[in-house]
């Protein structure tokens, strides 16, 4: 997923800020991105868990799918645009209520995952017939081509490539946002809206990739500087790079496309069966429905599990073995958990060996080490839950 060596790396509207902060820049999905700042990955990770980390995720693919012809009936317009995305996913997009966001997957005809993404419906009925869609950096060109093809002229996909996407994550994120965009703190988890900041509109969702409460803010490129600086001015906020983003999402048990998910893995195998909605199970009208429904009523060939590893970290590609030493699977993400102070990993194993507490082994540099199946996430999620009064 790294860039073609010959192609120059793309920059985000915030690249010069990263350099000024002493970031170590790396090539990622064709972009020059901050791996870490001077504090280092573990410090950035721990700061995000305790306070709030600010991530530049402008390499990702935010976009808006908008009907060409919008008669103006909110529900009818939504149903029409939702049908385009439903043709590619197993989720209930039509059932999204205004302002709500859903995690889903793009599927191929074999039920394999082409990408994972967020899809949201505008809160404002005046914007009916549109969806806010955020896809992964490395797959955005192919995803957008697929969505554009499915739209077949009925809707246009407006890419927000020139904008900046910031993620503010951590238990203090809401307090920080309250001082910058006060209305945004009323958002519930997995919802989004449009808010004013510095005479422009921000698209803000209450979502993220760390397991913490947090927000993702889409800002026009000419206001990206101002928003970045305003958020960092708060002493509870420190910048965090892709390194900490990876360790945080690993602890949160969240899969990373291209590693834990690929075109051969089904949502059932990946532990993402919740993306297959009840209505779509009945209508069975999504790509790969035959396989996915068979896996749901029977058993998939493999399932994604969490592993507590003893000894050296078991990295991606490490062979997982049963108690007798026979190879049974592969680690798809692995490393060191700063919160637990130990190596953890995710990988695929047969269902019969996937129960919590199952003793497995991993082979690291030809040395056999114990690995115990554990429930995901490794570190409990602390997403925002609205008080019901």
């Amino acid at each position: 997923m790294l860039a073609d060596a010959a192609a120059p790396l793309k920059e985000t509207p915030l690249t010069r800020h990263h350099r000024a902060l002493g970031a170590r820049m790396v090539a990622f999905a064709g972009y020059s991105m901050p791996l870490q700042y001077a504090a280092g990955i573990v410090a950035e990770h721990q700061w995000t868990r305790a306070h709030a980390g600010l991530f530049d995720v402008s390499h990702m693919g935010p976009s808006f799918l908008v009907l060409v012809d919008r008669p103006g009936d909110d529900e009818a317009d939504h149903a029409e645009v939702a049908a385009i995305v439903e043709a590619l996913t197993p989720s209930d997009i039509r059932g999204l209520t205004p302002g709500r966001m859903r995690y889903t997957v793009l599927l191929n005809d074999d039920g394999g995952i082409l990408d994972d993404l967020l899809v949201a419906r505008p809160a404002d009925p005046a914007s009916s017939g549109a969806l806010y869609i955020v896809v992964n950096a490395a797959t955005k060109d192919s995803d957008f081509a697929l969505i554009g093809e499915a739209a077949a002229g009925r809707a246009h996909l407006r890419r927000s490539d020139e904008s900046a996407l910031l993620a503010l994550q951590g238990p203090k994120a809401a307090d920080v946002v309250a001082a910058v965009v006060p209305a945004a703190v009323d958002l519930g988890f997995m919802s989004y809206g449009s808010f004013e900041f510095a005479s422009t509109r921000l698209v803000i969702s209450r979502s993220g990739y760390t397991g913490e409460d947090g927000f993702e803010l889409l800002v026009p490129h000419d206001r990206a500087d101002a928003l970045w600086r305003r958020l960092l001015d708060d002493e509870r906020v420190r910048p965090a790079g892709l390194g900490a983003r990876d360790t945080l999402r690993l602890e949160a048990g969240l899969p990373l496309y291209g590693h834990d998910l690929d075109a051969t893995v089904s949502p059932v195998e990946a532990g993402l069966a919740f993306t297959v909605s009840r209505r779509r199970r009945e209508t069975a009208d999504f790509p790969g429905a035959h396989r996915i429904l068979a896996e749901l009523s029977g058993e998939p060939a493999r399932v994604r599990v969490g592993l507590l590893v003893d000894g050296a970290p078991a990295r991606e590609g490490t062979v997982i073995m049963d108690d007798g030493g026979a190879p049974i699977g592969t680690v798809t993400s692995g490393g060191f958990s700063p919160t637990l102070g130990r190596p953890v990993a995710m990988g695929y194993v047969p269902p019969r060996l996937s129960a919590t507490g199952t003793m497995l082994k991993v082979s690291v540099r030809d040395r056999v080490q114990p690995a115990t199946v554990t429930a995901l996430p490794f570190v409990p999620h602390r997403y925002f839950r609205k008080q019901v009064s």
Binding site: L35, Q36, G40, I41, V42, A43, G243, T247, G311, A312, P313, R315, G335, F336, P338, P343, R365
Partner: protein
Amino acid sequence: MTTRYTRDHEWIRLEGDTAVVGISQYAQEQLGDIVYVELPAVGKKLDKGAEAAVVESVKAASEVYAPVAGEVVEINQALADEPATVNQSPEGAGWFVKLKVANRADLDALMDADAYGKFLETI
């Protein structure tokens, strides 16, 4: 005693009959937070350039090579519980192994601190 350096960022320093080996300040900065160190067995004979240890940061695993040939006579057991010592004191308490050096003259072929400093400017 003079500390010598390799182009792979190990250091080696004679202390009496043995030589202490570790990784440089530059190496620990590049690796970042070190979370695991795998050390060889005492008694293992290493050729010059052979893998002497593995150091793992949050991001990746890296090999540490023997700067000269020798036999491992002691390993820094404290790194098993406190691998971050390598970050805090790479050229002191964060040493990796002590070698009984086969040929002390081998050290003279390595860079001294000045030469290593100049080498770092080129990378």
